[in-house]
């Protein structure tokens, strides 16, 4: 019994530094990319399309779009799709997500980012940031996981407590509840808000 307890503490002690490493990794990974994005946003000399292209490059390496696509359909719908449907959906969704993200970024100009310490949640990490302007404060929570040795990836973003993935999920759910995958594709093919 004593031995068992000793082993357990030993494991915990072994694990702890590993977590600490994870947190530090996430911290620098995210800060680095967000600062680059802020830099691009604040650069008034940059052409909008060039800027957007550069931002897309950054978010593509930070976000795990494939997983995000999968999560928005969830286990209710995703496993039932054919490989071709999965590919088509991912393509359409990622396009939609990028466009929406860029559109929202365009609203920000004079904000500065305040970072909080990353937190461990199960085997994933969340990091809270605040976009602070003169008289406003917006909280953003980045949720990351480590799909491979290659490193951390963002799988969801929460703005003021509203999850990007869940928002899309509820929207897609509603379409699929009465309609088919085809309807959802048709909807995603249309420009946003139409």
């Amino acid at each position: 019994m004593k031995k068992a307890a000793f082993v357990l503490i030993g494991i915990m002690l072994m694990v702890e530094p590993a977590f600490a490493d994870d947190l530090a990794e996430v911290d620098s990974f995210l800060k680095e990319r967000l600062n680059r994005i802020m830099g691009l946003l604040q650069d008034k000399n940059l052409e909008k399309s060039t800027r957007n292209d550069k931002i897309v490059v950054i978010i593509t390496e930070a976000f795990d779009f494939d997983t995000m696509a999968k999560l928005t359909l969830g286990k209710k719908y995703w496993p039932g799709l054919s490989t071709a449907e999965k590919a088509r959906f991912t393509e359409l969704f990622v396009g939609r997500l990028k466009a929406s993200y860029l559109e929202k970024l365009n609203l920000y100009d004079d904000e500065t980012i305040v970072y909080s310490k990353p937190e461990q949640v199960n085997n994933k990490v969340q990091m809270m940031t605040e976009l602070v302007s003169k008289d406003n404060k917006i909280t953003m929570r980045y949720k990351l996981y480590k799909p491979s040795k290659a490193g951390w990836k963002v799988y969801d973003v929460e703005l003021e407590g509203v999850s990007l993935i869940t928002t899309y999920r509820s929207q897609f759910n509603e379409v699929l509840q009465t309609g088919t995958m085809k309807d959802l594709f048709a909807k995603l093919e249309r420009p946003e808000g139409k």
């Binding site: 999560l71 496993p79 509203v162 869940t166 009465t178």
Partner: protein, 847 residues
């Protein structure tokens, strides 16, 4: 004194006529008691009295009210002389608002000064959650505010008229929690009672709750009446600065009561005065004025006592009962007077008491028959499913019985105090209308048939054009303040009658169940990849994710559809709020994400203002609170409601089970539609009941069919005339058809009864007809003329239903009289229901 003829007559003679003083005393004690009970007599014009009790829509409406909240309020409109947005006027509005708010029994007052300004100056949507200013704030830009109010999808047509000349202040009364709790309990117990599931304690509770609710409603009516009077006093102080009107459902109910009471008092007096004059002209002598009036007064008072005793509330529908009671009592009394004078002339040697006994005994049977038949007619109202109409039926059944009994007691015991005196010189009218009718019937039989045929045709075509519409505004003359105020609110401040459209969204979890089951093998293998992310499974049900683009687009589509209908005034829904948000979002619709963020960030008091009344996330439904322009001439209520339902389920592709239309307008419409059904059903039953009664009374199918014909003509012409004149069938006018039956039956029965009595004398149809016209004809003629003249004064009322009542009752009387004096005898002469002329038959046939 000669020995009376039957046991009943002997008893009547020995008990009543021998002790008139005692009988009169008993009657007076009874009347005094009933008069005391009459103080409990209640007049109810509340919305609850105008709706069907068994209505599923009533339950739905109450559910919606419980879910989204309800406010009892009135609206004060203010049209200042100057510019509304000038600082002076705004200050004046503020003063008016605080004066109103300071009144006892007023919970709060909402005006244009209280609502958030979003564009004066514009606020970015990011900052919507704070820095909200109003017109009271010094930061407000008045010229921008003017534009905002003019264009705001929320404020325009609600707080301010489109021409920016009139503003509305909403005076909100405290929520009547006690009343609502009592009502809920009463409804629950009533439903249980209907199913026969009440036990003894619940039965006791039901009685208690019922009387408690009634007492509470009565108290609230008084309170509201007082509130409204106080509000009007405040308004009076501002009349120098502009025009002010009062509107709102509470006010309509209160003003209706006031109008009805005023009409009862003023025109009750007027009718009385006209009756006295007419009686004086016809009969000349004081006793023939005094006795009918005594009978009428006592009967009405006794009836009012019954109403108080049984707690039957007089509603707009039954407010005519006083008039009816007068008509019926007057008819019985005039028949007695005419009969007395007839006998007096025929039997000059008979003494006063003998004459009275003979009068009473010879008239009791036809009067009883007429009363029973009329009761059968009114009993048909009990078959309708409109509670006030049912109550009206019961009231009339009781009223006719009271009139019959009291008149047959009061007439003899009062008359016996007078001496016999000399015969009335003028027992025949100076204008011999009855002989004209007799001659006409004798000579122009065929013409009568042709005219009657045409009249039936006229009625038929008229009835086919009858409409069922009910606009409160049409109840009042255009010169009245209530009309002008309602018109203003209707046309410029969003309409009057509330209507709710409720849209249910499909339950996101409902349909997925079978899906999940069938795809479970796939899920099993693929689910491991989701195991790490089960955080999303629960989160999805959170309120903020309810606001999806699809839902919002649908809500806005429905909102636009409802708003575009010419009949709708103000439409408030989440769609209206989204319009505002869109405007702040540079004209772009908010996406799911923005909606969810906005929902999270909005202060809770704003949520309760812009979301709670229009969305129930818990029930997955949205509400569209509509006010309908009641005065819109093109408004056809039933068609309008059907169109909304049709368009929502077809053009907008909603599932029928997901659409619910409720609210006051639906309830009114249901009642109106059931009036149509009721009218047809009750008239059908009435006619069947009449034929049945005639069969019992006359024991002859021929006579029964003859007797029903003038009745049909009378109802037909009254309803047909309403159709031709475009007078809609509403809860007030529906009773006129029933009344005309009552009147026509009276004439028919008296005439046939007399005819059967007179015929054996010479077995000549024409001669019998002449004798009847010269005897019972007078009574019918006098009754009609007295009542037509008496009720003609109602046409001076400001209350349109009273005018219709006066005119149509007069019409019904005239038609009934003409039909009974021409068509009825012509049919008898034609069909000869009493056998061939000339040959004297056995005694069995005579009276």
């Amino acid at each position: 004194m000669k020995s009376p003829h039957s046991i009943v007559e002997r008893l009547f003679d020995r008990i009543v006529l021998s002790h008139p003083g005692i009988v009169l005393l008993v009657i007076l004690v009874f009347i005094a008691f009933m008069g005391y009970q009459a103080t409990n007599f209640q007049l109810d014009a509340s919305a609850d009295t105008l709706i069907l009790e068994d209505d599923q829509d009533l339950r739905n409406t109450r559910d919606v009210v419980a879910r989204y909240g309800e406010q009892d309020f009135v609206v004060v409109t203010y049209t200042p002389k100057g510019d509304i947005f000038s600082p002076e006027t705004l200050a004046r509005i503020e003063e008016l608002q605080s004066d109103l708010a300071a009144l006892d029994g007023v919970d709060s007052v909402l005006s244009m000064l209280d609502v958030p300004l979003l564009e004066s100056p514009p606020i970015p949507i990011k900052e919507l959650s704070k820095n909200i200013i109003t017109l009271r704030s010094t930061k407000a830009d008045l010229s921008l505010a003017k534009v905002e109010f003019q264009n705001s999808p929320i404020y325009q047509n609600l707080l301010i008229s489109p021409d920016l000349k009139t503003t509305a202040l909403q005076v909100i009364f405290p929520v009547n929690t006690e009343g609502r709790a009592l009502l809920e309990r009463r409804t629950a117990l009533r439903e249980k009672e209907r199913e026969g599931l009440l036990n003894a304690t619940e039965q006791e509770e039901y009685e208690k709750v019922r009387s408690g609710f009634r007492a509470h409603s009565e108290k609230m009516k008084g309170v509201r009446h007082h509130n409204i009077a106080e509000i009007r006093k405040v308004m009076d102080r501002y009349r120098n600065d502009g025009d002010l009107f009062l509107g709102g459902v509470s006010m309509i109910a209160d003003d209706l009561i006031t109008f009805i009471k005023k009409d009862l008092k003023l025109f009750g007096m007027g009718v009385l005065f006209f009756l006295i004059i007419t009686l004086k002209v016809i009969f000349g002598r004081t006793r023939w004025i005094l006795i009918p009036l005594l009978c009428c007064f006592f009967s009405t008072l006794a009836m009012a006592g019954f109403l108080g005793l049984f707690g039957w509330e007089v509603t707009v529908i039954s407010s005519n009962f006083v008039s009816l009671q007068l008509i019926i009592t007057m008819a019985i009394t005039i028949h007695l007077i005419v009969r007395y004078r007839e006998l007096d002339e025929a039997l000059p040697e008979a003494n006063h008491r003998e004459l009275i006994l003979k009068t009473v005994s010879s008239m009791f049977k036809p009067c009883l028959y007429a009363a029973l038949t009329t009761i059968a007619g009114f009993a048909s109202l009990v078959l309708s499913n409109i509670l006030p109409v049912i109550n009206f039926g019961w009231m009339m059944i009781a009223g006719i019985s009271v009139s019959l009994i009291l008149t047959f007691l009061i007439f003899p015991v009062v008359l016996i105090f007078f001496d016999k005196a000399v015969s009335d010189a003028s027992s025949k009218p100076s204008f011999p209308l009855t002989s004209i009718f007799a001659n006409f019937t004798a000579t122009k039989g065929r013409l009568i048939m042709v005219i009657s045929g045409l009249a039936f045709l006229f009625s038929f075509v008229g009835i086919s054009q009858l409409i069922v519409e009910n606009s409160f505004i049409d109840y009042f003359k255009q010169s009245t303040e209530i009309y002008q105020g309602m018109k203003l609110i209707d046309q410029n401040l969003g309409g009057t009658t509330p209507l709710d459209v409720i849209i249910n969204f499909d339950d996101p979890n409902a349909q997925s169940q079978p899906d999940a089951a069938t795809s479970s093998p796939v899920t099993k293998s693929g689910s491991s990849e989701f195991d790490d992310f089960d955080e999303f499974e629960e989160e999805e049900n959170s309120d903020k994710y309810w606001f999806t683009e699809d839902k919002m687009a649908l809500i806005q589509k429905i909102n636009a559809y409802l708003n575009d209908m010419p009949e709708t005034g103000k439409v408030l829904s989440l769609g209206t709020m989204l319009q505002v948000a869109e405007k702040l979002n540079d004209g772009k619709p908010l996406d799911n994400f923005e909606l969810a963020v906005l929902y999270e960030k909005l202060p809770r008091d704003i949520v309760s203002l812009v979301l709670t009344p229009y969305v129930s996330i818990e029930h997955n439904q949205a509400r569209f609170a509509i006010r309908v322009r009641d005065s819109e001439p093109t408004l056809k209520r039933d068609a309008f409601l059907k169109k909304i339902y049709h368009d929502l389920t077809n053009s907008l592709e909603l599932k029928p089970e997901n659409v619910q239309i409720t609210g006051m307008m639906v309830l009114y419409n249901n009642m109106l539609q059931s009036l149509f059904d009721s009218q047809i059903k009750t008239l059908g039953v009435t006619v069947a009941a009449l034929i049945f009664m005639f069969l019992i009374l006359f024991r002859s199918l021929k006579f029964s069919l003859i007797a029903i014909t003038p009745n049909l003509l009378s109802i037909g012409i009254v309803l047909g005339m309403m159709g031709w004149l475009g007078i809609p069938l509403d809860m007030m006018t529906i009773t006129i058809a029933a009344i005309s039956v009552g009147i026509a039956v009276d004439d028919t029965i008296h005439y046939i009864h007399r005819f059967k009595h007179e015929f054996p004398k010479d077995r000549n149809y024409i001669q019998t007809m002449r004798r009847c016209h010269e005897s019972i004809g007078y009574a019918m003629y006098y009754t009609s003329i007295t009542i037509v003249i008496g009720f003609s004064i109602l046409t001076l009322s400001n209350f349109i239903p009273s005018i219709y009542f006066g005119l149509l009752t007069g019409l019904a009387m005239v038609i009934a009289l003409i039909a009974a004096m021409t068509l009825l005898p012509q049919l008898i002469i034609l069909i000869k229901p009493l056998g061939p002329e000339g040959r004297i038959q056995g005694p069995g046939h005579s009276e």
